[in-house]
């Protein structure tokens, strides 16, 4: 079975969360709850507020109003180090040229658990956690490689191992499958599901969300427009409303989850329409 990564997991409650930058509203009154141990997909068009919501849940930004609690504790009221011991946030991969070994990268995840001054760096306990975390994402054999020699999929895995080394009870991932080939996308997401840690991830690909998420939160223009299981949220009416595209839903022949089949946009040439709206 899965190599267990110890650390309790906890549910998240988002209440009436709002955020704006320079008078521009990014998020308006978002409320949602995420059950412990589940994988939640955060969907929505570009600019819907997905990354902002992740940053607010991660405690990296302060909401204009509203609150986020993790296992009953308000995240905004936690000291940063405390939050970092309980929440790991991975932004989109932005640092392909970092000159560190894989183990050094994963050990960064131990920083919140060290003493503030001169914490033991790379001590045996930390290295054991690093090895476990790498094993949990199937990247144990990469431990001695240099970061910049890894493929995109391997880098993303190691980043998740770094997040796991924080021993978080909540994992936040922003577009974890960006720039990955299809095989890397599938194995990465199935590994996230197998961790048993509460995870919220922003995704662009609706079909990946339908296949790997227990729960979907759909954002549009900073508002939560739908929440529920993939089968409840990913229906042609809602997708058409939010993304402005036509689609049909079919059942996955092997796994039974919804599969979204897109058609060309409404503004396309006329002959396409007949087939699309069948």
């Amino acid at each position: 079975m899965v190599v267990a990564v110890p650390g309790s997991t906890a549910g998240v409650v988002i209440e009436n969360l709002s955020f704006s930058i320079d008078e521009q509203v990014i998020l308006a009154g978002v409320s949602a709850s995420v059950a412990a141990g589940t994988v939640t997909g955060l969907l929505g068009p570009n600019g819907a507020g997905k990354s902002t919501l992740l940053r607010l849940v991660g405690g990296l930004a302060t909401p204009a109003s509203g609150s986020v609690t993790l296992g009953g504790d308000e995240i905004g009221a936690m000291p940063r180090r405390e939050a970092a011991r309980r929440i790991a946030l991975l932004e989109q991969n932005t640092a392909p040229s970092v000159d560190l070994s894989v183990e050094d990268v994963v050990l960064l995840g131990r920083i919140p658990h060290r003493t503030r001054l001169l914490g033991t760096f790379g001590g045996d306990d930390d290295r054991a956690v690093a090895a476990e975390s790498l094993a949990a994402v199937g990247a144990g054999e990469l431990v001695d490689r240099m970061w910049h020699t890894l493929s995109g999929g391997q880098q993303q895995r190691v980043q998740i191992a770094r997040a796991l080394a924080q021993r978080p009870s909540l994992l936040l991932l922003d577009e974890p499958t960006n720039h990955l080939d299809v095989s890397a996308q599938l194995s990465l997401l199935s590994q996230v599901g197998g961790l048993g840690t509460t995870a919220i991830m922003a995704l662009h690909d609706l079909n990946l969300a339908a296949a790997f998420c227990d729960h979907i939160l759909l954002l549009q223009d900073g508002k939560l427009v739908a929440a529920g299981t993939p089968a409840e949220v990913l229906v042609p009416e809602i997708i058409g409303e939010v993304y402005g595209v036509e689609c049909d839903i079919i059942e996955h022949p092997r796994d039974g989850h919804p599969v979204i089949v897109f058609s060309a946009p409404r503004t396309a040439v006329a002959p396409m329409r007949a087939a699309a709206s069948a």
């Binding site: 929440i87 932005t94 995840g109 590994q191």
Partner: protein
């Protein structure tokens, strides 16, 4: 599930890691021993002949560990005063300034995630020179190191403000902004020296703009040494937090680092350190740029190893550069900044070629 089985149980990263640690300890030991030898050797070099035995005799005598004054076996008084009053303060100042600039560069490169960051390239050294010259020439009622610190801080603030567009600072913009600030501060320094012209203005301008430790005294050693001890201890204690910046601000914040407070505290410390170094030596370029890049290969990326090793290697480098500066055209002296630029600029070119995508994006 397959992933547990895919683990190769026989791998031995522990070995490679302890090898890396052993290599680091060896490098640090060699560097420290090398530094002590080079400092003593550098003191023997000069117009008057002094032997290594006389150097150590004089130092031991002053430390109360050997014969002094007219005791039998003591170093002759003339030699003793050449060693203790002239050469040793200069060599030690070079060592401390080299260490301080190298540490400043290493911290700046990590905190700004800019491989081209350096107190000289980003204008801090020139700002500090301007601050120092204001005190020295104009007699403004400030202590010299404090004025240099304020100058470095102002230059840092100006560079980062100019480089900041839309909330982000790219390495290339930071270097360009630093160039502008360095030119402006350099022009200000030259202007003040000319305006108050008395005696040998050109030499004085060169010393502030290109750097020199020719005038170093025990006072210089105390000023720069105190700053290095204080700031050096501070940044080594913050080494773990520096490591957290490797993947950028959001990653550091999600590792529990208070990013803004940490960055400004560290950059402020670097300005203080640079200010103290410039106050005793003028603006010596490229030490802070090249040493961290050379040393990372030996120390690895962890700042707990990088910072001590880069300090010792920076000291070694500047002692050698200063010895060259005062011997190549003996009896004339080059400002030491000319030597460091001759070595540093080729390294700078290699850096912008090698890291072209990451450094200029």
């Amino acid at each position: 599930m397959g992933r547990a089985i895919r683990q190769a149980p026989g791998r031995a990263p522990r070995t490679t890691r302890s090898l890396a640690h052993a290599r680091f300890l060896l490098a640090l030991t060699l560097a420290v021993v090398g530094l002590v030898l080079i400092v003593m050797l550098a003191v023997t070099i000069g117009p008057a002949n002094v032997s290594l035995a006389q150097v150590s005799g004089s130092i031991l005598g002053h430390l109360g560990l050997g014969a002094t004054g007219t005791d039998s076996g003591a170093v002759p008084l003339l030699i003793d005063s050449i060693v203790w009053e002239l050469r040793l303060p200069r060599v030690l100042t070079a060592a401390i300034v080299g260490a301080g600039l190298a540490v400043s560069g290493a911290v700046m490169q990590s905190v700004t995630r800019n491989p081209l960051a350096d107190p000289y390239l980003l204008g801090l050294s020139s700002g500090a020179s301007l601050g120092a010259v204001c005190v020295v020439i104009l007699g403004v009622g400030f202590a010299l190191p404090a004025a240099a610190f304020l100058g470095a801080l102002a230059a840092l603030f100006a560079t980062l403000s100019i480089a900041r567009v839309g909330g982000t600072i790219t390495p290339a913009r930071a270097v360009l902004a630093g160039l502008a600030i360095a030119q402006l501060a350099g022009a200000g320094t030259s202007f003040i020296i000319f305006w108050s012209a008395k005696g040998d203005s050109y030499r004085e301008i060169l010393n502030w703009l290109l750097g020199s430790v020719a005038g170093a005294t025990w006072n210089s050693v105390i000023i720069s040494g105190t700053a290095l001890a204080l700031v050096g201890t501070g940044v080594v204690l913050a080494a773990t937090r520096l490591d957290a910046f490797a993947f950028g601000d959001t990653a550091a914040a999600s590792l529990g680092i208070n990013v803004n407070a940490t960055r400004w505290a560290l950059l402020g410390s670097v300005a203080l350190l640079t200010g103290a170094m410039v106050a005793v030596s003028g603006a010596i370029g490229f030490v802070g740029l090249i040493l961290p890049h050379l040393v990372r290969g030996l120390s690895g990326p962890s700042h707990r190893r990088l910072l001590p090793l880069v300090a010792v290697c920076g000291a070694l480098f500047l002692v050698v550069a200063d010895t060259l500066a005062r011997t190549i055209f003996d009896p004339r002296e080059l400002p030491v900044g000319i030597i460091t630029a001759f070595i540093g600029v080729p390294v700078f070119i290699v850096l912008i070629k090698r890291k072209k995508s990451s450094a200029w994006s």
